[in-house]
């Protein structure tokens, strides 16, 4: 049994001082479809064998705005592997601080900044570079693990709502570290943290600055590092965390400031055994959303995924979304604030996000009245 290894080096956040600098990983996060975009939710990522698409997790959101230090995510002692420390921390060499090895959270005080980071890691935890090597093996085992999601769902101690509640917000990381072991579960538990967190790697390496930063641990504060979530920190009751995650998207009022982190809405599809959730804020256009949803639900369609649109067409106006769906039997609709079901694509994107409460992928036959032109055209084609 391999020792649990968790080092989630996340980069791309911001320094404490300035909010203005944008994260270098913004690019890779907002790419649609090109990089491997794994979600952090327990189990949700292995329902299909296709690389999951740009459904983002809260963690990705966090990576854009994070202000936490680059503490590693570990079961045990927080790691010292994080390369990015604010430059100020390296100055913290007061007399009393170097008499005894400091708690590894702040390796800079020890002057370990530039040396290999492995010697600070305690025995059974692997460093970042080790986990990188191990990624490909883990990934292959990931999909044979069986359906993780259903196992938790069947755990009698954990009602579905609890599972959802606890997992959805915290991107699976905390859950991975506070598993619910019972009988057969421990073996899977162990794999899971690595699976969940390993999936971050490729996305990271697709980014512009991920690997070099890891290796050199320079004090470059112009490209600040995002911090991995530390389990149980900040100390907020999980009930409260889950409540706020839900209510933040229910509030109608929008203040002048940029909105809260994530805007998750449920996505249902006729005939699918379960629903999904997407964070609307991670998309900028209908095209992105459409692609993401296609990928997410491709395992359920009968091979008639909507057309990808003509290649080379970068910008799609909203009204052309309907054209995209002509080739498939499905129509994308949403429920707005008033409770009415509307066809996706009529209004500007911003307005859409504001009013969308949930999404539904309807069978074409149910969508009569919503998209008459679409139906006519598909009938004509068939």
């Amino acid at each position: 049994m391999s020792p649990p290894l968790l080092s989630a080096e996340e980069e791309g956040g911001q320094s404490n001082v300035s909010l203005a600098s944008s994260s270098p990983t913004m690019d890779c996060i907002s790419q649609s479809g090109s990089g491997l975009k794994e979600r952090n939710y327990l189990g949700l990522s292995d329902c299909s064998s296709v690389d999951s698409s740009a459904v983002s997790s809260l963690l990705e959101e966090k990576k854009n705005n994070l202000n936490l230090r680059a503490t590693e995510l570990r079961l045990g002692l927080p790691g010292s592997q994080s390369p990015e420390r604010e430059p100020e921390l390296c100055l913290l060499k007061s007399g009393k601080l170097d008499e005894k090895p400091l708690f590894p959270l702040l390796p800079s005080k020890e002057g370990i900044c530039s040396s290999s980071q492995k010697n600070v890691v305690s025995g059974n935890k692997r460093g970042f570079s080790d986990t990188m090597d191990g990624f490909s093996e883990v990934k292959s085992s990931m999909y044979t693990e069986g359906n993780w999601m259903f196992q938790t769902a069947s755990d009698s101690e954990a009602p579905e709502s609890v599972g959802q509640g606890k997992f959805s917000g915290n991107s699976g990381m905390n859950v991975a570290l506070s598993p619910r072991p019972s009988g057969a579960q421990p073996a899977i538990m162990k794999e899971l943290p690595t699976k969940v967190l390993q999936q971050e790697r490729p996305r990271g390496t697709n980014g512009t600055s991920h690997s070099p930063k890891t290796a050199s641990n320079n004090n470059n504060s112009s490209a600040p590092a995002p911090k991995a979530q530390v389990v149980g920190w900040p100390p907020i009751r999980s009930f409260r965390k889950n409540s706020l995650a839900t209510t933040s998207k229910n509030n109608d009022e929008v203040d002048g400031k940029p909105g809260p982190g994530a805007l998750f809405v449920k996505v249902s599809m006729d005939g699918a055994p379960y629903l999904r959730k997407v964070d609307l804020r991670t998309y900028a256009t209908y095209q992105e959303l459409s692609t993401a949803l296609e990928k997410m639900f491709s395992c359920f369609t009968l091979g008639q995924c909507g057309s990808q649109g003509a290649p080379g067409r970068e910008m799609l106006s909203e009204s052309k979304l309907r054209d995209l769906l002509h080739g498939s039997e499905y129509v994308l609709t949403y429920e707005d604030k008033d409770g009415d079901w509307m066809l996706v694509g009529d209004v500007p994107w911003e307005m859409f996000i504001d009013s969308c409460k949930r999404l539904k992928i309807m069978k074409g036959s149910d969508a009569i009245g919503l998209a008459p032109r679409a139906m006519e055209k598909s009938r004509n084609r068939n």
């Binding site: 649990p4 202000n67 045990g76 702040l106 506070s178 619910r180 009930f239 002048g256």
Partner: protein
């Protein structure tokens, strides 16, 4: 002298001694007092359900009517304790039911409650009056239905922040028509409710003083409910949402009028969903409020929030989200001169951004509200200077919990640890009972705590300290320490084992991600048979029970008269298990134990 009084006189005198600690002290005076006290005790508090068994409780206090039980360790709130760790109430309820105890009140915190437990509870005690569940889990609305249906004299059903699975049943409708004794009802943690049943229930319970609704209760329903219950003292609104212009809404006008009739409301909470334009309806209430809890009201911020606060001149307790920002806290400071308790929670708990309050807000509060004695403050940063100022302005802290968002973050101005700041707090607040530390901290702050915090009972340490000396300062200095919880700090066996007798004077000790080893835990457990030393070995971190040098990821120890517990899951190791589990038994351990 007291020996000449008949027992009844003693008992009558003891009736005036209500706090359980005082009663515990009374019972230690002499055998006579012990006897009289134990038969007359009605309210029993058990801070750790594994410290004692239900049978012993019943044997000692046959007259118990009100019982409080706490289960999981505090850090379970933050997902540090695995599911299935324990804390089951079932054995307690079964034992109480079997005996002739006339239980009337049960208060549970962080316990696992099953539908079956609730069912047995509801059927076993004819005078059962009050059920309060805080941060519990394991039950569904079926259990609530049993309580509603069978507890005919129920006065209080208070569900605070529980994880409840909601079935399709209408549990609220199970209250019989004859149920007219309700005084307090709180179901805010549920998502659904049968509105019609709720309204009927409120209508037939004229003594209802405390009502906390959930998000399924609309504005219209709220208005109808308030019409029936103008006597409410404590109100938690549900969904305070209007989808049209309030000026065009009949419902809104009615609500405003109804609220004017509710002159008794002193505590206000809820607003889980809110349309800020509707807030003026509650302005009349604000003038008399003493407790305002907007910690779930993510929809109220900015100028709307400030407007609301400005009206609350009599506020004594305020729970708020950090979207109030430092500027908003300045408004609180200038408005709420009677403020005693402040809690600031993060509006974005997952860390995707700044926490909007800093040391500035806290200093403002301290200078405007000198009566402040209880603080929970989650903030972006803190400075020593600010803490020193706060300590000077508010010398009356009983509870001081500061959580700086980034673990081990130093003073951003001086880049120093926050030792001096926290030191000032403990030095000035001589009555401090509870303290939570955060930020960059060395052993020095622990030295200050050991030296000055004489009344300290509960201490939470995270990402702090440099060496075993730190932990020892606390263990040696804080004579009244009851609960110590430490995470991610470099304390090891030397500190753990220096004064093992100390732990019997405490309720519990939690250490996670520290440097204690398996060998250290074993040594402690062997030396102190009245402590239960649990090693929480999730993910099979500790493979071999004889490799004493392995670090223990999570250790929880507590004094107990009923060691060891028999409901511990696989991953919880106690010394007994380590020594007597087949396969891990080692010859020398066996012989050392049996000799």
């Amino acid at each position: 002298m007291m020996n000449y009084f008949p027992d009844e006189v003693l008992e009558h005198v003891f009736d005036f001694v209500t706090s359980h600690r005082d009663r515990n002290a009374v019972s230690l005076v002499c055998k006579l007092w012990y006897r009289v006290e134990r038969f007359s005790r009605q309210r029993v508090f058990i801070g750790n359900c594994y410290a004692i068994s239900p049978e012993r409780l019943i044997a000692r206090f046959p007259g118990v009517k009100a019982l409080t039980l706490k289960g999981k360790p505090h850090f379970a709130d933050f997902n540090l304790v695995p599911q299935d760790w324990g804390g089951y109430v079932q054995p307690w309820i079964e034992a109480l039911a079997r005996s002739r105890i006339g239980l009337e009140e049960l208060r549970l915190k962080r316990m696992v409650v099953s539908d079956e437990s609730l069912d047995v509870l509801s059927r076993s005690f004819t005078n059962f009056k009050s059920l309060v569940l805080v941060s519990c889990e394991g039950f569904t609305t079926d259990g609530l239905a049993a309580i509603a249906a069978n507890c005919w004299f129920l006065r209080e059903l208070d569900l605070q922040e529980n994880e409840i699975e909601e079935k399709k049943n209408d549990w609220l409708g199970c209250f019989p028509d004859s149920c007219t004794s309700l005084v307090s009802l709180n179901f805010a943690c549920l998502k659904e409710v049968n509105l019609a049943a709720l309204e009927r229930l409120v209508a037939r319970n004229p003594n209802l003083k405390s009502l906390k609704l959930n998000g399924a209760v609309t504005l219209e329903a709220l208005q109808r409910i308030l019409m029936r219950a103008p006597q409410l003292v404590d109100l938690g609104t549900g969904s305070f949402v209007l989808d049209r212009d309030p000026n065009d809404s009949e419902t809104y006008k009615k609500l405003r009028a109804t609220i004017l009739q509710c002159r008794s409301i002193r505590n206000l909470s809820g607003f889980l969903k809110v349309t800020p334009r509707c807030l003026p309806a509650i302005y009349p209430i604000c003038l008399n409020l003493t407790y305002l809890n907007l910690s779930y009201a993510a929809g109220i911020h900015g100028s709307e929030l400030i407007k609301l606060i400005r009206l609350c001149g009599k506020l004594q307790r305020l729970w708020i989200l950090d979207c109030i920002e430092d500027k908003g806290l300045e408004v609180v400071a200038s408005t709420c001169k009677d403020l005693q308790e402040l809690r600031v929670f993060p509006s974005d708990p997952f860390g995707a951004g700044h926490t909007a309050v800093t040391e500035t807000g806290l200093v403002a509060i301290s200078s405007g509200c000198p009566k402040l004695n209880s603080l929970l403050y989650l903030c972006q940063q803190m400075t020593n200077a600010a803490l020193i100022a706060v300590a000077k302005n508010c010398p009356n802290f009983i509870r001081f919990r500061l959580c700086i968002r980034d673990p081990a973050k130093p003073d951003p101005v001086t880049m120093q640890p926050l030792d001096e700041g926290f030191g000032a707090i403990v030095q000035s607040s001589k009555r401090l009972r509870r303290l939570s530390l955060s930020g960059l901290l060395t052993d020095r702050v622990l030295l200050y705590i050991g030296k000055y915090a004489e009344q300290l009972e509960m201490l939470s340490i995270a990402f702090a300290g440099e060496s075993d000396k730190g932990m020892l300062y606390v263990l040696n200095g804080c004579k009244k320490l009851r609960k110590l919880e430490i995470r991610d700090s470099p304390f090891g066996d030397m500190a753990l084992l220096r004064d093992v007798g100390k732990y019997e004077t405490m309720r519990s000790l939690w250490m996670s991600s520290c440097d204690v080893t398996l060998g250290g835990c074993k040594t402690l457990a062997k030396k102190m048979p009245r402590l239960n030393v649990e090693i929480i070995n999730e993910n099979d971190q500790i493979k071999f029970a004889h490799e004493d040098s392995q670090k223990v990821e999570k250790m929880y120890l507590y004094r107990t008269l009923v060691w060891p517990r028999d409901d511990a899951p696989e991953f919880v190791w106690t010394l007994e298990k380590l020594l007597f589990t087949p396969g891990v038994l080692l010859e020398d351990q066996w012989s050392s134990l049996t000799n």
